[in-house]
């Protein structure tokens, strides 16, 4: 599903943010990427969504070499990746429904289907009752859940989330993570960057540890 081959990313400052990272993620797997701040977690996710391109090495998504994905194909790749952001990045001038419907509008989904699928996604994150609400009137946790609904409404095979629980209290964080774990159950691959070690230990999922851009550990806490 996702493969990194000796990937390095160097910004103009000359520092390798990602250095010779190789790993593979199978379809339906849920993987955490962790490390101190500045370890390269966000950059790694950006390489997957083609927000950045690697300086060296190759990234494959669904068997496709991202180096060959250019121009119009970039948008098409991103439609197959649901992205969740720490600051949720909802459009504040639109209702919850319209925010979640955006990916479907982009792909030109027929009107009749949009309503059904948006409600299904909102139902999954437990916000069906708030579809007419404005994002500002929601709590931080609810806003994050709307962001997740937007990421899953297009039924992408891969979800990437950058610190999705960064602004949430431990209880809410666990709820959100369990939500992601549910998607993994139905075959969606999930890649989450998080520095919350306590939370990761409770999830019992595979963890990739980055340190100064290098992959220093790949383990599964609590696994038999």
């Amino acid at each position: 599903m996702l493969r990194f081959d000796n990937v390095s990313k160097r910004y103009q400052t000359g520092l390798d943010v990602i250095a010779a990272v190789s790993f593979e993620v199978a379809a339906g797997e849920m993987v955490f990427v962790t490390g101190h701040s500045g370890a390269g977690k966000s950059t790694l996710l950006k390489l997957v969504g083609l927000l950045e391109r690697p300086t060296r090495g190759r990234v494959h998504v669904e068997g496709r070499d991202l180096a060959r994905v250019r121009g119009r194909a970039v948008a098409h790749l991103r439609r197959r990746i649901g992205m969740v952001f720490q600051d949720h990045r909802l459009l504040l001038d639109r209702s919850v429904f319209d925010n979640v419907a955006l990916p479907l509008l982009i792909t030109g989904t027929p009107h009749a289907q949009i309503g059904k699928r948006v409600r299904a996604a909102l139902d999954k994150v437990g916000l069906l009752a708030r579809e007419r609400a404005a994002p500002q009137t929601l709590s931080t946790g609810e806003q994050q859940r709307v962001g997740i609904a937007r990421a899953i409404v297009g039924k992408p095979p891969l979800i990437i989330a950058d610190e999705p629980t960064g602004n949430l209290d431990p209880q809410l964080s666990l709820e959100i993570m369990n939500l992601f774990a549910d998607f993994g159950e139905v075959g969606t691959t999930v890649l989450i960057a998080s520095h919350d070690l306590f939370l990761l230990k409770r999830m019992h999922k595979r963890v990739l540890v980055l340190d100064h851009g290098r992959l220093i550990d790949d383990f599964r806490p609590g696994a038999p």
């Binding site: 955006l102 982009i106 030109g108």
Partner: protein, 333 residues
């Protein structure tokens, strides 16, 4: 009329759940989606304009005046050309014979001129006809009665053949050299000057129109650029979740189209208002001069053309700016 529609953006064939269907059904669905997206952009962009009435009105006002200016010039010159048409075509040569020449001599010369290839017609006006004409003009009656005999010469009105008409046909020179002729009057010079003025005016209107069209494109481009600035977050989110360039571009293109269309409408209103305000005095002025009818306004075809031009310029201005922004803001691609 509203410019070329952007390329269809969504390709349902690549969406995750596009199950194989009958080709016709899929084509129909895609066409419906395309139409929905355009209708949505068409109206939502208008809604955005309405959401900021002051800023939008200001832009539309600037555009309206910028578009009205060349229109007004064009109308003025169109009318001038029309009114002067009769004058420019006055190519008759008036030939005053020597006062000593009698009626048969005048007829003989007329017959001689009629025989020429470059003469279309010759009208003979005897001194008696001239006198009668003078008498009709008020005030001349008494003065003419005081004269013992008719002082007027015979006059030939020579119409050159169309092929021989020009600024200075050789016919005029030959007539001037004829001993039997006292005076030759040919008003080509004035017509030539008028033609020069009108040609210059037309060129001026063209240049002004081009300049103001460029200004229109820039004003709309700048407005749309500020639009993009305020919606930068929205654009970036759309790009992140897989919106194609066309999808991101479309609402801005429609906004540009609306600006251009509304500006053109305002320009037409300005022109119409001026036509209305000037119609009565202009008619009086013209009535005193010529037998020309009312001033020529802007026809329905021209008005539609102005609307189409405004919309096209708006679309173009928006396109230039958005294209630049998309190229600059495309992350890592």
């Amino acid at each position: 009329m509203v410019g070329k529609a952007p390329r269809r953006t969504g390709d349902p064939a690549t969406t995750p759940d596009a199950a194989p269907r009958a080709p016709r059904r899929r084509w129909r669905e895609r066409a419906a989606a395309w139409r929905d997206q355009h209708l949505y952009s068409f109206f939502s962009s208008l809604g955005r304009l309405a959401a900021r009435p002051f800023a939008s009105a200001l832009t539309v006002l600037v555009l309206g005046l910028a578009l009205a200016l060349p229109l007004l010039f064009w109308l003025a010159f169109d009318n001038a050309r029309h009114w002067s048409g009769g004058l420019r075509e006055a190519r008759d040569i008036t030939v005053f014979l020597d006062p000593a020449a009698d009626a048969p001599a005048a007829q003989a010369l007329a017959a001689e001129l009629r025989g020429r290839a470059d003469v279309a017609a010759v009208l003979v006006r005897t001194p008696e006809q001239g006198l009668a004409e003078f008498r009709q003009l008020a005030g001349f009656g008494a003065a003419l009665d005081a004269m013992a005999d008719n002082p007027l010469p015979s006059v030939l009105v020579v119409t050159p053949a169309a092929s021989a008409a020009g600024y200075d046909p050789p016919l005029v020179g030959e007539l001037r050299g004829d001993a039997r002729i006292d005076l030759v009057q040919y008003d080509a010079t004035w017509g030539r000057k008028l033609t020069g003025i009108l040609e210059f005016g037309e060129r001026l209107v063209t240049v002004l129109a081009a300049l103001l069209a460029a200004a229109t494109v820039l004003v709309i481009g700048n407005t749309v650029r500020m639009d993009i600035q305020t919606r930068r977050e929205e654009v970036s989110v759309m790009q992140l979740i897989g919106a194609s360039d066309g999808f991101v571009r479309r609402p801005f293109l429609y906004a540009g189209l609306w600006y251009g269309l509304l500006g053109a409408l305002l320009a037409l209103a300005v022109v119409g208002l001026l036509e209305f305000a000037l119609a009565a005095p202009l008619e009086r002025l013209l009535g005193a001069w010529t037998d020309a009818q009312a001033a020529r306004g802007l026809g329905a075809g021209a008005a539609l053309g102005v609307l189409a031009a405004g919309a096209t310029l708006g679309w173009l201005g928006a396109y230039l700016v958005v294209a630049r922004h998309l190229a600059a803001g495309r992350p890592g691609a």
